[in-house]
Symmetry: D3
Subunit: 254 residues, 6 copies
């Protein structure tokens, strides 16, 4: 099978981090296409940045999804996930959602370990949007500005482990989610130091994506994820117009 | 005071409808700037379209908010509302949220009357996102394709009133929200036919926007709506880059 | 327009505090009638006191609402609010509810800063009654007996600011509500010291009340806020009998 | 033991109905004092009427609770229940709450069968206030005006049974609560016609009240049900002033 | 009346503790039959142990319930409670549920004081299963291994009281539940040291069981607690086969 | 990898149905061991039967899990799932939970199509236990007694499809779960007739189980799913004693 992995932000070094971890989770015969958002921000930690990243993911997916069996949105917070599910005829998997459903199958409550204080609100709202707030034991986050987003694991590894330990001891977490694409791989490298299973969003997303392809679901003709009703559109680019608008009126790029 | 009213979709006839109703709700001294999304779809009824509309609203707001006292996002479902609140230094009001908080002050439970079956899922999730699901008595929607989005009131007025009456009698609604910018003005014209107060999103948004300006809140320096931390960005255009990215690296438009 | 502002407790010095702050929030042409409960307690911090204050507010409103365009219940906890909405033909706004809906439009989660430990349970239940528990970041309260209810701002201002700062830093509040009529005006005087917007219940209530009058809702003929069905009553006084009972059997005062 | 049973509305024929059913549920040695509200309405079906009834119940309880071991508030909706619990040194039991906790011990979900359409909103909010909305299968109510509140069982018995049967078959009720003091005794007389246990609020309240007395709880010195902090009061009458206000400033009756 | 009290674990010394406390709560004419699980573990603190204990309780109840008026499941967490309610024709009361419904009638929020860290997850899930999470202020638990389950009160009494005090002061508990059969009697012996009412599960269960018998509910013919539909079974033993399976195919013991 | 698939009821024909469908979902190299409960009932549709089936699953798993990489509990309602997760050192997957997390990744809300009216309560409570009630659009069930549990697909296929269609059209389901092991394979055979994706619990469970093994989680040393603390046990059989009790005191079978 062939998976399109979209990094909804512009950091190609994070894309490389994602790819390295993703390749550890592919089964024989699974191919990956990596894509990085052509516009947006360096990494996503706010609602505004997610709104941008979600639209970027739509653009990337519209242009690149053909010939793929599933799409992975590779940023915690799952920017654009529901939107992509509506417009694409193939399964779409999100890093956060995949980590959450994995965590739910490994314990009763999970904690999320995050890379910045600011990012917590966005994560909390994402989890609430999935209806899983009651399974969330806590979100714990680093409280210092990150010197370099691509080196957060090396620079902050011990602090992240300490946060994880407190989530288990004080907050009642049965499972830990080390959140955010910049932490791709950390769960694997520190698993032996942690008292409960630690999940990596990229890894979970890859396994769920392959499972979703295995299931071979038919694209819905009804319900709220059927292809949106045809309507006029403008300025979305040719690929996205075909998916969102059905009747591209114009292709002037916004 | 000066309000920027953004229609996050591309239909200028809907913008005109919004403007006509909005002007009935301005106080002496309140000026309106109307803006229509330069890219997007004819009207928003899905998560995907809202993702596009929210990004378009960010672009419009970034370019046009200067010299205004508040912004109104004039589409039901409030595309981009939370994103705009993070990046703008002035109050931002959404049609849905304004209608909901008004309804909450007029009764215990409200129903939403909507223009299409498909739009219901997006509305329900929007309301859930505000934490107000327990106040929602029902969503009732037209079940036929709309011939013309700009004439839905004339064509479907009686059907919408009938749905509203059932929401009161069968679902326990104390207040009705006639939802969607294409219905702007309908609540006013059918109020005398309905047993409970009927709200118009545009009207509610205008009154709340003026109230928010009256309150003169200071822009937050903390919490999750402070200006997002500075980070690299690319392809967002000059105006949005200044707001989202702080450090525009490139201005190549997506 | 003409607003009736009811202080549901017996402290005339608190009424004066409310009036002073309320007058800062009236628009040209808005007149205020201030009323103080003729019976009840000095200030309300328990369910029992709220039950008394709510009944007192009903008595005051029944007697004084004629010729007014809206009523404001000016005690945090909104004693009697829903009852007044059922029996009065004009909008009724509560200090708590007004502050909550304002906070919801300025951020994702809010904290309430309160004047006594005991009052927290009543506030928490009030907020839960509005279905907004998920938006509540925390309630933080002074933990010392108040020497004088009319001087709590001067005596405890710094402590209240410190509680507010912790609510933002530790509890994730995006907005602060400085709660209780005795704190009327404090939000304004300490706003510059706080990292997020701070709301004053009186100010919010006045702005919402004027917005509700602007909306000019029709009184409901159906739903659960229509005038209660006619039934026998006794001992309610002439004014309230007309509103609650329809058919006063007796006017012996309780 | 000695129980004070308070009818918070003014209908002495309903008091007699309550008494007749209550006496069937007393154990040897349990004595009842019946009390009827000296002011209020004929029966309570709205939030406004409950606000009045709750205050009336406070007045009655303040004057009559001495020498009793517990108080029963004998109206569905439990007017004044939490207030009474704060100010009285003895257990206070409510008809609704007692029926709900009994229902919870006999099944998973319960339905409430009510005597008027209007009363449903108040019941639903009461149940939500106890945090038990998820256990509520449905509320079903008569939809015609009641000719005589004291004869509703004779006049509407078959209709009430039919509503109850639909609640089991269509709504998934495991237990039925025949709600409202005017229905006292009906559960007993129609039990054999119903497929699941049917509860009578008076009966449940009497059994719970006796159980609470058996438990002999100590009055709280802490928490939110300790005696309210001492404060000035006015116009509450001597008995209630002693309980609510601690320091009666005046006894002019409101 | 005659009550069957089942200890769903194998510790006969805990059965004796339960019996001693239970006998203090029986009314004249109430007889107790004590039963201890013939298989299982020493005490239940996990979901796995509860699954075992619940099945053991079914076996005991099936064999011994004849000639009794009600059954009490005497372990916190109520192992097998819903199962027993489905298959037995008499009321079944659980220690946890009885304590929770009692607490709900004595305050707004309760805390549970528990004997081990591990047991907290199981308690929290039990309370959530009853839909009462919003009433739960906190669970606080001893954090040391128990030397002897039968002597935990003597060994850890002061620590348990300290936890209880913190639950009131820091967590907002109005009522305390001293949880677990090994703590039977502790609430009574330390009540005078605690600022709010302290409940004993055994005591609550006994009072509720007697109240349920007084109510004399008819066994349901409909709803989800009617006798399960007849189906083939195997290996359940003769008594349980009669209740669960209706058509015992085999009696080979598992 | 090697998976142990446990049918927690005694019907070997249902085991064969499960196996047939399970084999369609195995990847090359995945081996299945099928096991049927040695005691219990023909199929599980009540809480009582689930309590029995869960204990039977514990016995089977204890005896047979060695040399396997994961366990699948193959009955809707997931009897014993949490218990098995606590005591086994390998991943344990449940049919219901696997179907739910799959559905969550394919849409916003799902409906469950069930084989009997009675089974709905147990399903609803299972879903609530996972915290996913807000994602549940509806449960719809056959309303006639099943002639033969092994032939329900042939006998009732059209009725089940009709229920599924109503769940999409009337209840807003985005995904359908055809629930219960007796329906294994039906989703596949009727997928083309349904407007939205239809899930088969067995298929979902197999894919999730393989994904969980791929993830290779470490067994927890902390949290509430670590191996239960060592305690005395009795009558559990040798295998289960080793897992639950640590210190088997006796092996007399119950």
């Amino acid at each position: 099978m062939k998976l399109l992995v979209i990094n909804p932000n512009i950091s190609t070094d994070v894309t490389r981090l994602i790819e390295a971890e993703a390749r550890r989770s592919t089964r024989p015969g699974t191919e990956l296409t990596m894509a990085t958002a052509p516009f947006g921000v360096a990494y996503i930690e706010t609602r505004a940045e997610s709104q941008v990243g979600g639209y970027a993911a739509m653009q990337v997916a519209a242009e690149a999804h053909a010939d793929h069996d599933a799409v992975v949105v590779a940023a915690f917070g799952d920017p654009g996930l529901a939107a992509l599910r509506e417009i694409l005829p193939i399964p779409v998997v999100g890093m956060t959602e995949a980590a959450l459903v994995t965590a739910c199958q490994q314990g009763s409550r999970f904690s999320v370990i995050a890379i910045s204080q600011r990012i917590q609100a966005w994560y909390r709202e994402t989890i609430a949007g999935y209806g899983l707030s009651d399974r969330l034991a806590s979100i714990r986050a680093l409280d210092e500005p990150l010197a370099h987003i691509g080196r957060v694991q090396e620079d902050q590894g011990d602090r992240l482990v300490a946060l994880a330990e407190r989530a288990v001891a004080d907050d009642g977490a049965d499972v830990l989610i080390l959140a955010g694409a910049p932490l791709a791989g950390l769960a694997r490298s520190v698993a032996h130091r942690l008292p409960v299973p630690a999940l990596d969003g990229v890894t979970c997303a890859l396994h769920q994506a392959q499972a979703m392809v295995d299931l071979a679901p038919t694209a819905p003709r009804g319900g709220s994820f059927a292809v949106p009703p045809s309507k006029d559109c403008q300025g979305l680019g040719e690929a996205l117009s075909r998916l969102v608008g059905r009747q591209p009126l114009a292709t002037t790029q916004a």
